[in-house]
Subunit: 229 residues, 2 copies
């Protein structure tokens, strides 16, 4: 079972720790603020109040065996740096730290962080790609303009078979999976997931409200979006 | 051409505005801090210094025609709320606002924000799924345990054809695309992308360093990760 240590339980750290625990990992969560520790203690394996800039306090937690430790301290860059340094000294094999600026990123890399992340910047890029592809629910950029997208089936696809749409020949687009939902039971409820067909055949019919997982060139995928304009 | 207004150019807002502009959209960027405006003016269509809590200043910018306006102000929740209110009053059809807490999210929804995002929380969830699936480079959760993953080909796949691996029959895993990179030219340089095969055939051979795009059940995909343990 993978084991992680999360240091600093602000919005980012708390979300990280609770999702890791929900995904089946063993999670040790730390924060200098007792209330932050109280808030999370029922959702993780172990939660401890400590000052991560105190090397002896960290050493006492037997962290050398974790698969990764993630430092999620933002406001005080000194605390962020010291925590990162101590974790590497203790022998944690993978330390991931959070940076607010490129300068902070360089310093953290220099002092031994194995990975540095910038949550705000990455989310800015992610929201941009959602806004640029209005139909797309999820996007994985593959390479030079190629992407995988999870898109709502355009309105005029309903009732047609994949072979009738001829997406592969006409537009080089491959439909690799279809997600189907039943309409929600009552107004405002979220749709109930029905099925995932991850081996669609040429004769598979597309229904209204289907979600298609497609691979193709972004310009062609964007044109799909115009279908349902 | 899609048109967006980005209000507040902190780490998140600046990243959003520059990625939207790079993706081909028309972008109007606003901030109360002249330096933030100076920093971005060469990368967007138009950048203006103004206080977004001043309704008359916003009205003068002809924002009613944008496809969406995104409010990226964090520290001052009052400014975040006022900007959101003014944008809806001006007639912007889609206003997206950023919340730091669930209470802020509820208030923003009540006063008319069309969408509310929490970048820190979403990034915490995203990093958690990356840590739980060490081989995976990108993950799109499809449904009930089904996912699409972009994974590094396990070491013992190299030199084998897809039909030899028999992933579909044995594990219900479908390889839908293969990304291939040439080795980097020099130490430390990033690998050069060579090709994307988005219609792999049963006889396609997998090479070392290939990246596979696979669809299947998460438990089976996780086992793939153990291959290259
Ligand atoms: N020396 C320290 N030891 C342990 N925890 C600390 C230390 N310094 C700060 N923290 C904790 O780290 C958490 C996050 O820190 P901070 O608020 O500085 O970052 P942030 O970037 O604003 O967070 P987020 O964006 O995730 O909400 C807080 O809960 C804080 O109590
Ligand atoms: N009333 C306002 N009008 C226009 N811009 C504003 C206003 N108030 C704040 N801003 C700008 O919004 C930007 C981001 O705000 P702030 O620093 O409060 O948020 P943040 O959540 O810390 O940002 P990030 O996490 O994206 O760095 C800053 O550049 C700030 O100058």
């Amino acid at each position: 079972m993978p084991r992680f240590a999360v240091i600093g339980l602000g919005r980012f750290g708390k979300s990280l720790a609770t999702h890791l625990a929900a995904g089946g990992a063993e999670v040790m969560a730390f924060d200098a603020d007792r209330r932050a520790v109280e808030n999370i203690k029922d959702e993780v394996t172990m939660a401890v109040t400590l000052d991560a800039t105190d090397e002896h306090a960290l050493e006492a937690q037997n962290l050398e065996k974790v698969d990764a430790a993630i430092v999620c301290i933002g406001e005080s860059f000194e605390a962020n740096q010291l925590a990162t340094l101590h974790l590497k000294n203790i022998g944690v094999k993978r330390v991931i730290a959070k940076a607010k600026t490129t300068t902070q990123r360089h310093i953290l890399q220099r002092i031994g962080a194995d990975e540095v992340i910038s949550p705000e910047e990455e989310m800015g890029a992610k929201l941009a790609s959602h806004l640029l592809h209005p139909l797309a629910l999820e996007i994985i950029p593959l390479a030079e303009g190629f992407s995988i997208m999870e898109i709502r089936a355009p309105a005029d696809f309903a009732g047609k078979a994949l072979q009738d749409l001829n997406l592969r020949q006409r537009r080089g687009i491959n439909v690799v999976a279809i997600k189907r939902h039943y309409p929600p039971e009552s107004e405002g409820a979220s749709p109930i997931l029905a099925s995932v067909d991850n081996l669609p055949s040429p004769t598979t019919l597309i229904e209204e409200h289907d979600i298609l997982i497609v691979i193709g060139h972004e310009d062609e995928l964007r044109k799909l979006g115009e279908y349902s304009g």
